[in-house]
Symmetry: C2
Subunit: 324 residues, 2 copies
Amino acid sequence: MIAFPVGYALSAGLLLAASGFASATAQMPPPAASSATSAKPFQSYSEIVAAAPAAAWRTPDPKNLIYLEMASGRVVIELAANIAPNHVANIRALIREQYFDGLPIKRSQDNYVVQWGTPDGQQPRAKIAAKSNLQPEFVRKLSGVEFSGFAFDRLPDIDGYAPQVGFASGFHAGRDPKASEVWLAHCYGAVGVGRGNAVDSAAGEELYVVTGHAPRHLDKNVTLVGRVLQGMPLLSSLPRGTGPLGFYDKPSQFTPIKSIRVAADVAPPERTDLEVIRTDSPTFQHAVEALRNRGGDWFKVPAGYVELCNVPIAVRVPPVKAMK
Amino acid sequence: MIAFPVGYALSAGLLLAASGFASATAQMPPPAASSATSAKPFQSYSEIVAAAPAAAWRTPDPKNLIYLEMASGRVVIELAANIAPNHVANIRALIREQYFDGLPIKRSQDNYVVQWGTPDGQQPRAKIAAKSNLQPEFVRKLSGVEFSGFAFDRLPDIDGYAPQVGFASGFHAGRDPKASEVWLAHCYGAVGVGRGNAVDSAAGEELYVVTGHAPRHLDKNVTLVGRVLQGMPLLSSLPRGTGPLGFYDKPSQFTPIKSIRVAADVAPPERTDLEVIRTDSPTFQHAVEALRNRGGDWFKVPAGYVELCNVPIAVRVPPVKAMK
């Protein structure tokens, strides 16, 4: 069977849930690990992560998890409350006002973003407590002391868009020690706040998700608020809009949002329980090294490098849940 | 209207055809160029390219253009005959044997690739003149003299995957002067040759197209043979396969290929006439600088850098054709 290129660790953090995950690994052509003749068989990212101890996983706070519900299913987003606290609080307020319910996904631009919110030409809905304008949180600016204490799991790999790259509070991020700034990076699945020309012209009523090659030039120009943990294909495979910038020409092309809810407000049986790999865990470091220098029977030339957005942050269904 | 992030130059080379292109630019929110107060208004990549002189465009050789025909439409691919001559010749031979006609797109892995060829478990079709095995063309290895004469339009921007990056024969590429090697890069829309573990285990019967964030770790491990010039959305928005590695579980999920044809073999009235921006043109260099340091009313912080796969190689319908 010719089934290449291999892609076991390439779904941008959207690994299959634990039960499916193991079987997918087992069936993967080519066997990425082990041959009888190899003294120290290569282990892939997926294999390392699949064997990670419980301590390598964290459970996102249900206050920071939101569910985007469509007819096709649920998209689970984790909000980065440590990076963009004011926007995250306002998005939570919007959700609790049911601001998004019934609004459409109105844009799908190939190799770029999907976006939802008020259709062009319509008045935005009235708000109750949520704000319409917020000061930007393009970067998290920290005092020197705060900066050195702010968790950042750095990658040694070079990057053209940021002096340093790695993971801030478990999200793909850039960092500038001279400016004492940390910011989220526009990797696949990143969720951002659409805005007009003024930096304070929005407050989360229009959200977009990166569905293409990382548009990192947007970093530090937009407030990013989180990333998709599960359900990317429901967004990434939407038909592309044929209007300018991928907006849909006709309302009939819209995908309606049934609702957006904060997981903490959803009855536990209806929640999607997920765990995220800790980017400060030795397991994760080990797994990233397996991306940098891929081995096994298929790869012939290891890159010796991994670019930030090519590092998936693995997600799984907790084993107890998976066994139910 | 809140219509962000802006994306005028972000469709990975797949700019709209000339007629639609101009109007799309005109309607783009926000106006990326000009304000009355600005002495030297910023021009975006799209605007620069739209105003490019005729000399900045090249017409691909119809022998190197192939049409992938599906019920949903036509995907146009340019083959990189200068980089992978043997594979390109063999793919042309396969096409002329109608090898691909009726085979399916059998894989769509989110944020990675689509792939077509013989479904798993079926015998590959018999071939007439086309070969089943070829020596790899992962890189184009050149003698020192050849290397210095091989057209390569270099970007000054750093890259973690290659000592140098730029454009070889007009395709996204990496280069290593020490090894006298040039190779195509796995950017969005790149077309590659699936293979088994052995480097000579295939010859173009299985082709894949990159539909996600550039998997550059595959560079130098696969023979890349070209890139999609038009029609990416027909591939990138296909439903994701739910089997391992994004293969479709059931034949009913396949998208049949009606045919693949070499443009030179198609009657001129049925051809898709396209021009590609010359990567050695001053216009292109100017346009790339506009990606590196984006201005206008929306961008607040220019990146001062552009990553190889974030540089679109613009495509247009020739103006005479567009006026028909």
